[in-house]
């Protein structure tokens, strides 16, 4: 089994952006009084999902077994799809469309999670097919 998987590499890069972004530029609203809104917890959930995606995609890059790699990438794709629904659907965001959590965090994270899911799925399918043909 070839070691390098472009799908896993792309997923690793995207999950790094999700992880770092959820606590910086692409994160939830910062309240002046230091209080936390529900969007804060959406940001925390995305941080967790980002870390999980990073671990899974890194592991998928390192393992040699094709079926194991495919399994890891499919699990990562499921986590990324979950990430799409975290801001706004599973965890409520602030009530004004102009606030950062709605104007920046939600669209950016939806886009990044969708791209990660796509990378993982294509990488996973490629790895699964390759493993099947090598048998």
């Amino acid at each position: 089994m070839k070691r390098f998987s472009p799908g896993a590499a792309a997923a690793l890069a995207l999950s790094a952006v999700i992880t770092v972004g959820s606590v910086s530029l692409l994160g939830p609203c910062v309240h002046e009084d230091g209080s936390f809104g529900s969007c804060h917890w959406a940001g925390q959930a995305l941080l967790g999902i980002g870390l999980l995606l990073a671990v899974l995609s890194l592991a998928a890059l390192l393992v040699k077994d094709g079926r194991l790699r495919a399994g890891m990438l499919f699990a990562a794709a499921a986590a990324a799809i979950l990430g799409i629904f975290v801001p706004g659907t599973l965890i409520h965001l602030c009530g004004m469309a102009t606030m950062r959590c709605r104007a920046v965090m939600r669209p950016a994270m939806t886009l990044l999670c969708a791209l990660t899911a796509l990378s993982c799925l294509t990488g996973g399918i490629a790895a699964y097919r390759k493993a099947g043909s090598e048998k």
Partner: protein
């Protein structure tokens, strides 16, 4: 049929070269589609503002005008709280040529639990209003009761939901259609509700520039409609002379300011698109010429095998058209992913009315961008196609030896 498959095979045989051409043409489509959607949204926003500003003149306190707070409130949704003597309303109504004059009271710094930000509450008189009411009637036709509010499209509360403003439970009875202006972030209520909210705020120890006792006598803005046949400029000057510590602003001058900003942004976007297109066109032409040189022997062999010049030229054009089509689709898709989800962010950053055009217009823009990309791609390859089809197979193959 065979030629078609050969063109596709050629593209698949060289994935690196094909990818580079696809990315280059994607850049063209991205710039033209993204740019035209942004400019189209700005124009649509301007039209929306134009139609929303049903008043000919707006009278605001001098302090508001000097700080440009009213225009900012209208365009960017900045919270505004400025007040003037309520007697100014009677003075305006006395001016010859004034057909309608409707007051509004603005309340800023009200912290609503819905969003933990200060929201703008706009109180209006349903009896005399002609500015907000027609807009509200599109989504809510009944009379606004006490503690009933209608929210702008950017306030994320559904009809029937309760929003708490200073612990007053306000029922959302309607959501307004998007205007692409700062009015979308406001909450609208009648003057009686406004008074209740002020009282509630005072009970919580939050003071405003206007207290609930004097709220009947204080107003924030007067929207004036001038009778037909009267000169708006003359009526404006007359109002200015009749009122105290007020500025009468012609909505036309406000629109001119917005229009100037819009023209400047449209010009910048058009220049950027032009520069990207020129650069990409040059790169594409150079790329196709280089590819043509690289593929001389391949085409010489094809000529020896009996392929006509027209067939060769057609094949190159087909290859470039396929690359441009794929690149165009990729560019339109990328632009859609960058522009549509971040509409609010773009609007906030530009500080101008921004309203997304209709789905039909967007589809037309996407198709136009796709067609332009394919046309430019084919045009860029036409020189290379012409040169290759004129290649003398014997000379080329001898050169190789």
């Amino acid at each position: 049929m065979k030629r078609r498959s050969l063109a596709v095979k050629n593209l698949l045989r060289k994935p690196g070269r094909t990818s580079a051409l696809v990315i280059l043409t994607a850049l063209l489509a991205l710039s033209v589609f993204g740019g035209s959607v942004v400019v189209g949204s700005l124009r649509q926003g301007f039209r929306s503002l134009e139609s929303r500003l049903g008043a000919d003149i707006i009278v605001v306190p001098s302090s508001a005008q000097s700080k440009v707070s009213f225009q900012n409130m209208l365009l960017q949704g900045t919270n505004g709280a400025f007040y003037m003597d309520g007697k100014n309303l009677d003075r305006v109504r006395e001016v010859a040529g004034v057909e309608l004059a409707a007051p509004q009271v603005f309340l800023a710094s009200l912290k609503a639990d819905c969003c933990s930000v200060k929201i703008q509450v706009i109180g209006f008189d349903p009896e005399t209003d002609f500015f907000v009411r027609p807009w509200i009637e599109q989504s809510y036709t009944r009379q606004l009761g006490d503690l009933d509010v209608v929210v702008g499209s950017k306030v994320e509360s559904g009809v029937g939901e309760i929003i708490r403003i200073y612990d007053e439970r306000c029922k959302v009875v309607g959501r307004l259609a998007a205007t692409g202006t700062g009015l979308d972030t406001a909450v609208y209520c009648n003057l009686s509700t406004m008074k209740m909210l002020l009282t509630a705020a005072e009970e919580k120890g939050v003071s405003h520039k206007v207290s609930s006792d004097e709220s009947d006598d204080r107003i924030s803005a007067i929207y004036v409609k001038v009778k037909d046949g009267y000169d708006i400029g003359a009526v404006n000057s007359e109002i200015q002379g009749h009122t105290r510590k007020c500025s009468a602003v012609r909505t036309k001058s406000m629109l001119t300011d917005v229009s100037d900003s819009l023209s400047a942004i449209s010009g910048t976007v058009a220049t950027l698109i032009g520069a990207i297109w020129l650069l990409s066109l040059v790169i594409l032409v150079v790329a196709f010429v280089m590819i043509a040189n690289e593929r001389k022997r391949e085409f010489a062999v094809l000529r020896l095998l009996g392929t006509s010049r027209a067939m060769l030229g057609g094949m190159i054009l087909k290859e470039s058209a396929l690359c441009s089509l794929a690149g165009g689709a990729l560019g339109v898709l990328t632009a859609s992913m960058l522009v549509f989800p971040f509409t609010t962010l773009i609007e906030t950053r530009l500080g101008l009315p921004y309203l997304r055009p209709s789905a039909g217009t967007i589809t037309a823009l996407a198709l136009a961008a796709l067609a332009a990309t394919v046309m430019v791609g084919s045009l860029a390859s036409s020189w290379a196609s012409f040169r290759l089809s004129r290649v003398d197979p014997g000379t080329v193959l001898r050169e190789g030896n």
